[in-house]
């Protein structure tokens, strides 16, 4: 039977490409002010499909503000933010919902709903957006829980009964509930032990490889920056100071970038990590 009529309903996918790579998220000339304090000024940034973008910056440089602006939680005074080629400011509610379905967010402290179990937390976006039979929803939620490396017994636990690392994983499971195209991670490895953090990074890289997930990761963890991030952007002076690969960061002469990537702490991590990358 015919498939033609359904193919016509194909939504316009993001068409913008550059060097043959699709731009999933682009910010142009974004300015955010709180009263008289300007936090971001004329900031521009592109995120390509299937990459892990690591976002760093000094404390108070506005990383969280930018993330919240992209998510629409903070009003911007100027500029445009496009996701999947659509200007977020011009969307009506229905279109906005379709974009929301394609993004997932992991907040810094998890932001799990404390009155719901882990399983119910993962099901919140599913219940909200798609029409699934109850049994399938249970099974898919359990799948997400196991995919992020939680034991299945954790499914019936409440957030208050989980450790910090488990909360992060459960929050990631909720962010991935709808198999989004892009996930925003706010300091995903902070508060995790190094082994847990490395596992988490591995998990994110695996998601990118299997599902073509695009990841926007705010992080201070040099290990994650060096091992899983395809590109790094540095926020400073109210804009993106530099962006590029780890090698670009190492060459940069910006003082903050220099001290971050070539400081005493960084040297201990960068060299072995670079060697590891060469080996593989």
């Amino acid at each position: 039977m015919a498939t033609a009529e359904e193919d016509q309903t194909e939504a316009p996918r993001a068409a913008e490409t550059e060097n043959g790579r699709e731009i999933v998220l682009s910010a142009e000339g974004v300015t955010v002010r709180f009263g008289t304090t300007t936090v971001l000024e004329n900031l521009s940034l592109d995120v390509y499909r299937g990459e892990i973008l690591g976002f760093v910056g000094a404390s108070g440089s506005g990383k969280s503000v930018l993330l919240r602006t992209i998510l629409g939680l903070v009003r911007k005074q100027a500029g445009t933010i496009r996701m999947f080629g659509r200007d977020l400011a011009e969307l009506d509610d229905a279109e906005r919902m379709l974009i929301d379905m394609r993004q997932g967010v992991l907040f810094q402290h998890g932001a799990l709903f404390s009155a719901l179990t882990v399983l119910e937390n993962v099901q919140v976006p599913m219940r909200e957006y798609i029409d699934l039979p109850k049994k399938l929803m249970d099974e898919l939620a359990l799948l997400k829980i196991e995919l992020v490396g939680l034991p299945r017994e954790a499914a019936n636990k409440f957030p208050s009964e989980l450790s910090g690392g488990m909360i992060k994983r459960a929050a990631l499971a909720r962010a991935l509930a709808l198999d989004p195209d892009i996930v925003f991670l706010d300091e995903p490895t902070s508060g995790l032990d190094p082994i847990g953090a490395a596992e988490f990074d591995e998990l994110v890289a695996k998601m990118r490889d299997t599902m073509g997930l695009t990841v926007y990761m705010v992080t201070h963890d040099l290990d994650s920056l060096l091992t899983v991030c395809d590109r790094i952007a540095v926020l400073g002076k109210k804009r993106v100071l530099v962006h590029g690969t780890v090698e670009d960061m190492m060459k940069s002469e910006e003082p903050w970038v220099k001290s971050y990537f070539r400081g005493k702490r960084a040297r201990q991590v960068v060299r072995p990590a670079a060697r590891m990358k060469e080996d593989s």
Binding site: T3, L119, M126, D131, E146, D179
Partner: protein
């Protein structure tokens, strides 16, 4: 057989841009070929789920699953496929997958463990209803005991005035107490005045109407004076404060408990009861009698106006009559109760605050419990006082 998926579920309207998942099935004596096509994603999984569940029961010797025409596959789609593969293998069929991309293979491997064991672990079996009911009774008896014990602990700690575990022994922070008196006492004055004046007016009006039949309208002054001063002034104030300040105390202590601030106090060497509960309790014990006096004044004022309005009793006559009707014991019979009620409200609110667990829901439950218990016990205690006063002829 061609499977028309869109008939099965109404969910497809919300999926612009998605082509629905389909399964094409070829069956030849024990050899089944499944040809999958379309988008196999979380958004479309609901459409095909029932059909895939039916396919699980098919018996076959050999199964061939062709993923060549699948446009999109995510974890949910991969899980549906992996469940089919596992179930067919369990039924003894040879399963062969073809046409899957490299990414799909990794995805299928990743979801396999869950697909092989899709049931959510349930909590251990529940008991019968009799033992559940008995357990509930037992638990609430223990809860009451714990509440009482903790209440006495707080009372004891307050009386000994313990601020520090060590160091500046018995020191009290007057600034904290003053600020609590300001919030719980001064802040409550407008609402207490308004409420008491209205209650006083209503009693005066109704009393006047009833006493008019006997030509004894002037006795409304006796009625109002004694009722307000002995009972209603303090009772209404206590109920208002239980709702206004008791809930605030529970919420404040409870949210501090949730964010481990109470634990931080303990570790720093401060006694949480001394730091958090003591100032609030002292403030309540000071504020409630003062508010009661205010409430008494407001209620008598309201009654006086109404007596003038409806019964033509001028204020001078009202005051004259009032002087004969009440004496100092009437005033103290009410006022003595105020500090006890303040203690009850404060202790119940603190105990409930300390019992808050990790979730927002438990905070809400504790605040409700705090107000309900405080009002209930305040009314019971008022009744006990009435019996006691009658017995000693006060």
């Amino acid at each position: 057989m061609l499977f028309k998926a869109s008939r099965l579920s109404g969910g497809s309207a919300a999926l612009p841009g998605a082509s629905l998942p389909r399964v094409e099935l070829q069956e030849e004596d024990g050899f089944i070929t499944y040809r999958l096509s379309g988008d196999w994603t979380t958004r479309t999984a609901g459409v095909i789920d029932r059909h895939m569940r039916d396919l699980l029961k098919k018996e076959a010797k050999r199964v061939h699953i062709d993923l060549g025409d699948v446009r999109q596959l995510d974890t949910a789609g991969a899980w549906l496929v992996a469940r089919l593969v596992f179930e067919q293998r369990r039924r003894g069929a040879e399963v062969e997958l073809t046409g899957e991309s490299e990414a799909a293979r990794i995805l299928l491997d990743a979801v396999a463990p869950t697909a092989e064991q899709p049931d959510i672990p349930r909590k251990t079996h529940s008991d019968g209803w009799i033992s559940r009911a008995l357990a509930a009774v037992g638990r609430s008896v223990y809860d009451i005991r714990d509440d009482l014990l903790y209440g006495f602990h707080i009372l004891g700690a307050t009386i000994s005035g313990a601020q520090m575990k060590l160091g500046r022994r018995n020191s009290v922070n007057p600034a904290a107490i003053a600020s609590q008196i300001d919030r719980m006492g001064v802040g409550a004055v407008p609402i207490i005045v308004l409420m008491s004046a209205i209650v006083g007016a209503i009693i005066a009006q109704q009393g006047a109407f009833q006493l008019r039949y006997f030509g004894a309208e002037i006795f409304v002054v006796d009625l109002v004076g004694i009722l307000i001063l002995r009972e209603l002034g303090v009772l209404m104030t206590a109920i208002m404060i239980a709702g206004r300040s008791g809930s605030a105390i529970t919420a404040e202590i409870g949210s501090m408990k949730m964010r481990e601030e109470v634990d931080a106090l303990t570790v720093i060497g401060l006694n949480p009861v001394g730091v958090l509960v003591f100032p609030r309790l002292v403030a309540l014990v000071v504020a409630l009698p003062c508010l009661t006096i205010v409430a008494n004044g407001a209620a008598l004022g309201g009654a006086m106006l109404i007596a003038w309005w409806y019964s033509g009793i001028p204020p001078s006559a009202f005051i004259d009559r009032l002087r004969g009707a009440i004496d100092l014991t009437s005033i103290f019979a009410g006022l003595i109760k105020a500090p006890f009620m303040a203690m009850i409200i404060g202790i119940i609110a603190s105990v409930e605050g300390m019992k808050v667990g990790g979730s927002a829901e438990s905070l809400g439950r504790r605040v409700t419990a705090s107000v309900v218990k405080a009002i209930f016990i305040v009314i019971v205690v008022d009744g006990l006082f009435a019996i006691f006063y009658a017995a000693i002829d006060f």
